[in-house]
Amino acid sequence: MLAASSGPSPLWYATRATGVVALVLLTLTVAFGVAGTARYSSASLPRVVRSGLHRNISLLAVAFVAVHVVTTVLDPYAAIGLTSAAIPFTSPYRPFWLSLGTIAFDLLLAVVLTSLLRSRLSYRIWHGVHWLGYACWPVALWHGLGTGTDSKLSWLLLLDALCVLAVAAAVAVRLTLARPGPRAVGLAATGMFMLATVVFVIIGPLQPGWSRRAGTPAAPASAAALRAKPDGSAIGVSRGTVRPPVRGQEARHGLS
């Protein structure tokens, strides 16, 4: 109640910060993983070191994603419950884009659990689930772009672009080892994904009114504005409602 009435809590900032860092760590994980499948090795980065970094960074990414999820659930700003954090399409707040994050989280959990149980699973099952983990990265990227409060920030767009380029470069290196047929398909898919991402950012988050189109509940914002007293001081709102946006947030959410 207090947090809701006194502005964004530290949890909200932690959510956003850990989300950004988790995406960078996931990018490194994918890049090292793809480099591993390409049998990349150099004097400065031997295979053992690269493999160890892939494992450690992925665990670190899981830790950051866990903090991201926990702070999101605890923070009353968007009122996202535990159910919404684990089951896709159950959140009233930007359902589709939030669900992408949920799916990425579930995929990551599956990879971690199967990796922990690797000795009890067949290599085929573990490998299949591990490959699914690679889908976590583009899903997480689009989750960040679609849901992220800060998607319009230029430095964050640059960071996203660097992440895409890093993974694309790793995939391109990997595809040089593939046969001509799969190589062409892989390069085309990578190019299509990059193009789709750029187009999505241009016609989506960068356009005014994205907040409403993304599925931000319109009622809470206006209702919260109505709850403000005539003298300008807002009445405390209970958990489960969204506070009235400040000017900057209105602009970023396209509410203005």
Partner: protein, 115 residues
């Protein structure tokens, strides 16, 4: 043979140490980046020191403003349009109230009970 094993063991230890060192650097960097980003978001949130209520007027962010930084809650910082205010500013920046507190014009009339 023994020297070969020894050198292989040394090489393995060196590589494991490198993994540990790099992992620690990345972990530290990620933690620092997370803290830095969180702080930056808290301070750079446009208008976080400007609270807009229904009247849309600039007002104190203390305990009531939407979008105010969490550090601002309870500190009573004065909001000036788009200008960030530091945490200690309110100690010197609080303006006197324009209006004196309204005093009670007359003591309440107490009537004896009708019974």
């Amino acid at each position: 043979m023994r020297e070969h094993l020894h050198s292989a063991s040394l090489r393995r230890d060196e590589r494991l140490a490198r993994i540990r060192r790099l992992s620690l650097w990345i972990t530290g960097g990620a933690a620092a980046a997370s803290l830095g980003l969180g702080t930056a978001f808290a301070h750079a949130l446009p208008g976080h020191s400007v609270a807009t209520g229904a009247s849309g007027t600039t007002r104190s962010a203390s305990g009531s403003s939407a979008g105010a930084a969490p550090g601002a809650s309870g500190t009573g910082r004065l909001a000036t349009g788009g200008v960030k205010s530091s945490g200690h500013q309110h100690k010197h920046g609080l303006a006197k109230p324009k209006q004196q507190p309204v005093s009670t014009p007359a003591p309440p009339v107490v009537s004896s009970g009708g019974s």
